[in-house]
């Protein structure tokens, strides 16, 4: 048990003590143990390492560390061996023995576990030579993947809480706010509101009690950067919050994190506990006469609770619905008191600004967007994972240089969806736009919390819009009319278009409905909900028109529930049976053979060839007038291993009963 830190010099003494205990010759295995790698067996890898090292008596020479995310989730579980900095990907628990034999004892890398460059097919030993990491600038993520997030000593050794000591003992609250303003930091949760301005408004608001809140209620489909940050470096969030609280004058803070992130909840709780036991939280922090506590609140997973006022309602124990923000939350937020709410990533940026200075921070980025941003790069891209890049990098660099382009299969890039469900789809010809808050907005998308979903030409844009509208419809709180009713109507219109029932005026109706929702919705969920629809109409209007006028889905994704495509038949026999009968003049006049066939296809009766076996459950072959259906049952069905238990026969039943129609063209939504 380390004694409490009472002054900044105590902190330095502790840091030096931790550093001096570290043996520079000791080998360190850093195994990523956050969600994605854990799913791949990272915990077993750590366990095997510990057991084997102990068996061979190496436990004092080699240290195994469970770290946070390194971002390369595509290749998980990943690990790095130091000091050689050998990067292994797709490690399996059974590889442990080999790694110890080859790398730890013999100094040779295990070639099979090294990353292979997709183009040159060369093996890459070092992490920084891998293109995925090459263009990244990891600042907020500098410690995740390096430290054990459950050990405060690791964080302190890496310079943690140095910014806190600087802020509390050498800076006035207003100086901190000025520094954050000068850094140009903007909210990382989506809105992009200048953080410094928010803090100043909260600082100036009248009232005695005030709060700081961290928003860890990440809920965008395909986004997991906040989760990784909370899992991998929880202390950076805690440190940022203490600095912010000191600047604003808050003595209480809350971290709102969704309960679906159990590891994040666990690591944050440990971080708060450890910081409290060291005296970095609690009364009279670092002797500056400033008290601050943090409470962790678990959300029940409603997407809308990521909206600031809904989050505050939820914190208060009320229904997680947004409320009007005409009086801003910085003046009247949680329990009607001044509250500064920031995304966890925003909070994690704060120590960097204080530690290295606003000028250094502002030197990265574009005119109005400073610093770096973490994106989760997912979808049809080769290297999925988490990336941290400087603001102003182009989408092309992100997707093709870092992401390695579209997955194998020869498909072409079509669009990238940024900003989560309320974001927009950006097409190929806008790929060279720099990524920052304003340029993304001008493209009809948003920065959002940083989700990037890459789509190839096999993706239908109308279907994509429908997917996001469906997500928002089920996640809307249902409080205000335009969002609740508007999304339901929007979903209906899009479903109609996708199923080939779209009408000429549907696009205009969607646009009008969108502008109504943007104008009148209560919160940002409804106000930005039309983005996926509007941006796809803007860049892919031809696809909408193809669905509506030509009844065709160019990507071959959408299907009309009333039709079956020829291509859906994997086996030809049922198809040939149907086509033969469909061409027959008796087909429409109620062919008796067909009704017999249907009872057999539905499994009610069996075919027999002998009069002796006749019963209610059988059909005698003699009853058939036409040879075609009979030959199907006799030859195709009886000789097939699946004996009619196949998907194709289900399709055949649908066709024969007239419920569905057969379409020959691969893409058409309706029979021409």
């Amino acid at each position: 048990m380390i004694s409490k830190i009472k002054t900044p010099s105590d902190l330095e003494v502790l840091r030096q003590a931790i550093l001096s205990r570290q043996d520079p010759n000791k080998q360190v295995l850093r195994v990523c143990c956050t969600t994605a790698c854990r799913a791949g067996g990272a915990l077993d890898i750590v366990k095997n390492f510990k057991e084997e090292l102990a068996e061979r008596g190496l436990q004092d020479k080699v240290e195994v560390k469970k770290t946070g995310c390194r971002g390369f989730c595509e290749k998980g579980p990943v690990m790095v061996i130091e000091p050689e900095e050998i990067f292994y990907s797709e490690v399996k628990p059974k590889d442990v023995t080999k790694i110890i034999d080859y790398t730890l004892l013999d100094g040779r890398p295990v070639k099979r576990l090294l990353y292979t460059d997709a183009e040159t097919r060369k093996k890459i030993t070092n992490e920084k030579d891998i293109p995925f990491f090459g263009k990244q600038v990891r600042r907020v993520f500098s410690k995740t993947g390096k430290i054990d997030p459950t050990q405060i000593q690791d964080y302190i050794a890496e310079g943690g809480y140095r910014a806190l000591a600087k802020a509390l003992t050498t800076m006035e609250p207003e100086e901190i706010i000025e520094a954050v303003e000068a850094s140009g930091l903007r909210g990382r949760g989506g809105g992009g509101f200048p953080t410094g301005r928010k803090w100043r408004a909260c600082w100036e608001a009248p009232g005695s009690a005030r709060y700081v809140i961290a928003n860890g209620d990440e809920g965008d489909p395909g986004a997991f950067m906040d989760r990784s940050l909370m899992e991998g470096d929880p202390h950076s969030i805690v440190e940022g919050m203490i600095i912010g609280a000191y600047a604003i004058g808050a003595n209480e803070g809350f971290i709102y994190v969704r309960d679906e992130y159990p590891i994040a909840v666990e690591h944050l709780s440990i971080a708060v506990e450890q910081a409290t036991s060291l005296g970095l939280l609690g009364k009279d922090i670092l002797g500056a006469g400033f008290d601050f506590t943090i409470e962790i609140e678990r959300g029940a997973g409603a997407f809308v609770c990521g909206e600031s006022t809904a989050l505050m309602n939820s914190l208060e124990g009320r229904v997680g619905e947004p409320r009007a923000k005409y009086v801003h939350t910085v003046a009247s937020g949680l329990w009607d008191r001044p509250s500064a709410l920031n995304n966890v990533e925003t909070w994690a940026n704060v120590p960097l600004i204080i530690d290295r200075g606003a000028e250094w921070y502002a030197s990265t980025g574009t005119a109005n967007s400073k610093g770096t941003k973490i994106f989760s790069l997912v979808g049809k891209v080769q290297n999925t994972g988490l990336i941290e890049v400087p603001m102003g990098i182009t989408l092309r660099e992100i997707i093709f240089d870092i992401g390695g382009g579209i997955r194998k299969g020869g498909k072409l890039f079509k669009a990238v969806q940024t900003g989560g469900p309320s974001g927009g789809c950006i097409p190929e010809h806008k790929m060279d736009m720099p990524v920052d808050y304003d340029s993304l907005k001008s493209l009809g998308a948003i920065m959002g919390s940083g989700g990037m979903i890459v789509m190839d030409e096999n993706t239908c844009m109308v279907d994509t819009a429908k997917y996001f509208v469906n997500f928002l419809m089920s996640e809307s709180c249902g409080k205000c009319v335009p969002c609740r009713e508007g999304l339901e109507q929007m979903h209906e219109i899009l479903t109609n278009i996708c199923e080939g029932n779209g009408e000429a005026e549907d696009i205009a109706l969607l646009e009008r409905l969108s502008s109504l929702m943007m104008d009148t919705s209560l919160c940002a969920l409804g106000g930005t909900a039309p983005n996926p629809v509007l941006s796809t109409i803007r860049y892919f209007r031809d696809e909408y028109e193809a669905h509506i006028f030509d009844k065709e889905c160019p990507a071959g994704v959408c299907r009309n529930p009333g039709i079956i495509r020829v291509t859906e038949f994997g086996c030809e026999s049922p198809l040939r049976f149907y086509e033969y009968c469909f061409a027959c003049p008796q087909f429409k006049d109620g062919c008796p053979d067909l009704s017999l066939s249907r009872t057999m296809l539905e499994g009610k009766r069996k075919l027999v060839f002998s009069d002796k076996l006749d019963s209610e459950d059988t059909v005698n072959a003699k009853e058939f007038h036409c040879l075609k259906p009979l030959s199907y049952f006799e030859k195709s069905r009886n000789t097939c291993g699946r004996q009619g238990k196949c998907r194709e026969e289900g399709l055949l039943v649908d066709l024969l009963s007239g419920k569905k129609e057969l379409v020959h063209s691969g893409t058409r939504l309706k029979k021409s």
């Binding site: 419809m473 609740r484 009713e485 999304l487 209906e492 009148t520």
Partner: protein
Amino acid sequence: MMVRITIDGQIVHVKRHTPVLEAAKQLEIFIPTLCYHKALKAYGACRLCVVEAFRNGRSKLVTSCNYPAEDGLVVFTATDRVKTARKGIMELLLARCPEVPQIQQLAEKMGIKAVRFKKKGDRRCILCGLCVRACEELVGVSAINFTSRGTEKKINTPFGIESKVCIGCGSCTYICPTGCVEMVGGGSPSDGRSMNMGDLALAGCPNNYECEACEIDREFIEEFKRVVKDVRAKT
């Protein structure tokens, strides 16, 4: 502190942070609304009361029921933008509740002839939350609340079973603008009357559903408080 605001070119002095809707009422400017009642906290859900507010040279659509009056605020209640928005909202409501007289009349008044959207069944509840707020803020028992979310959202008692805290005062029935809450007799006497959700045959409103300018409505609160006191004394 009194502030000066301008509504449709007319100047009015009101207390700071008075809702714009209340200020407009002083000028006898009618703003339609379905979820506002002056005895209850503004909820801002129906969005029908939108007006165009100008501040710092920028205009935006705001809901007048909860937009606070600040000095120098300029508001227009009947611009084209406002009218289009209200019409759009009304259309969505009409698609949700095509058979509710108040919605029909309000829609007719706004000049809506045909609904461009598909009718979504025949629901009566517009989820304005008046009953929920009346039960919470005035009666103080919270016997009913919203359940589920989004398109599935509805008003219900906890777990959909007969409420033990309902005193049967009937305020939800009274305040419901669409006649969706129905009183049913038959509960145990100690609970007062029992309540469940259903349709209530709606008597025609003598005042064309303009609750804002309605005498009956103004008397409601006094009478209502008396009823609540009565019922509480008995139970």
